[in-house]
């Protein structure tokens, strides 16, 4: 009997030396199932199935049988359950951060491409605004706080000694 997993989710076949997990497809995406299976594939044989649209089924058989088959199968089932959770969470983070990852990757790729060639510069449109700046953050100090030009009609103040 599996101690840590509900019996309706885990079943052991001691004759076949296999553990079978029922996996809720609404909680664990397929990518998590593949990822968790991949982690175990060096130590166990893994078969995936989808008995119903809302459930996956993963059957694992250890590659190197140990004396205590039951304990080994329980451990393997628990490891698969943990990996499923880990992979599902990582998949969620990946989906949520996809835009950020793409942006960073694009910048890294652009930097790795090196400086633009003369042909690139020739075809580059320097007239378009790089981005909108409603708060004036991109203005230089002189543009923002520098001395304002005198109103029209007033000349520059007389220099010292000219008075």
């Amino acid at each position: 009997m599996v101690m840590a997993l509900p019996p309706e989710l885990v079943s052991l076949d001691l004759d076949e030396r296999s553990a079978t997990l029922a996996i809720d497809a609404s909680i664990y995406p397929l990518e998590a199932l593949y990822g968790a299976s991949y982690v175990l594939i060096d130590r166990a044989y893994v078969l995936l199935d989808r008995p119903t649209p809302d459930r996956y089924r993963a059957t694992v058989v250890p590659k190197k049988p140990e004396e205590d088959t039951r304990a080994q199968l329980e451990t393997l089932a628990l490891e698969l359950a943990n990996e499923l959770l880990s992979c599902a969470y990582r998949h969620r983070l990946q989906v949520e951060n996809r835009a950020l990852i793409e942006s960073v990757t694009m910048r890294a790729m652009a930097g790795a491409m090196g400086p633009p060639s003369l042909d690139d510069l020739e075809s580059f449109d320097f007239t378009s605004d790089a981005f909108e700046d409603p708060l004036g953050i991109a203005l230089s100090w002189e543009e923002k706080y520098g001395k304002k030009p005198p109103p029209a009609g007033e000349g520059p103040p007389p220099a010292k000694g000219e008075e």
């Binding site: 593949y34 299976s37 594939i41 995936l48 989808r50």
Partner: protein, 70 residues
């Protein structure tokens, strides 16, 4: 004879074919298309050998499917 069913939503048919080709020297394989599964029948000299080949087929088909998905 031993049978292995690979669900068509989880395994690529090409990957199952490729996995069968890898293990073809060790057993006689028959591939059958079912509505939801790719069915592979394995015939070899002993039941233990058929089981061992079936288990290797599980991992080969899964690995090749995952590799193809990227």
């Amino acid at each position: 004879m031993r049978e292995v069913r690979f669900h068509r939503e989880l395994y690529r048919g090409e990957s199952v074919d490729e996995a069968v080709k890898v293990l073809a020297p060790y057993a006689k394989f028959s591939l059958i298309e079912e509505p939801e599964h790719w069915l592979v029948q394995i015939e070899s000299t002993t039941a233990a050998r058929e089981r061992k080949i079936a288990l290797e087929l599980w991992n080969h088909a899964l690995g090749l499917t995952m590799r193809a998905r990227g």
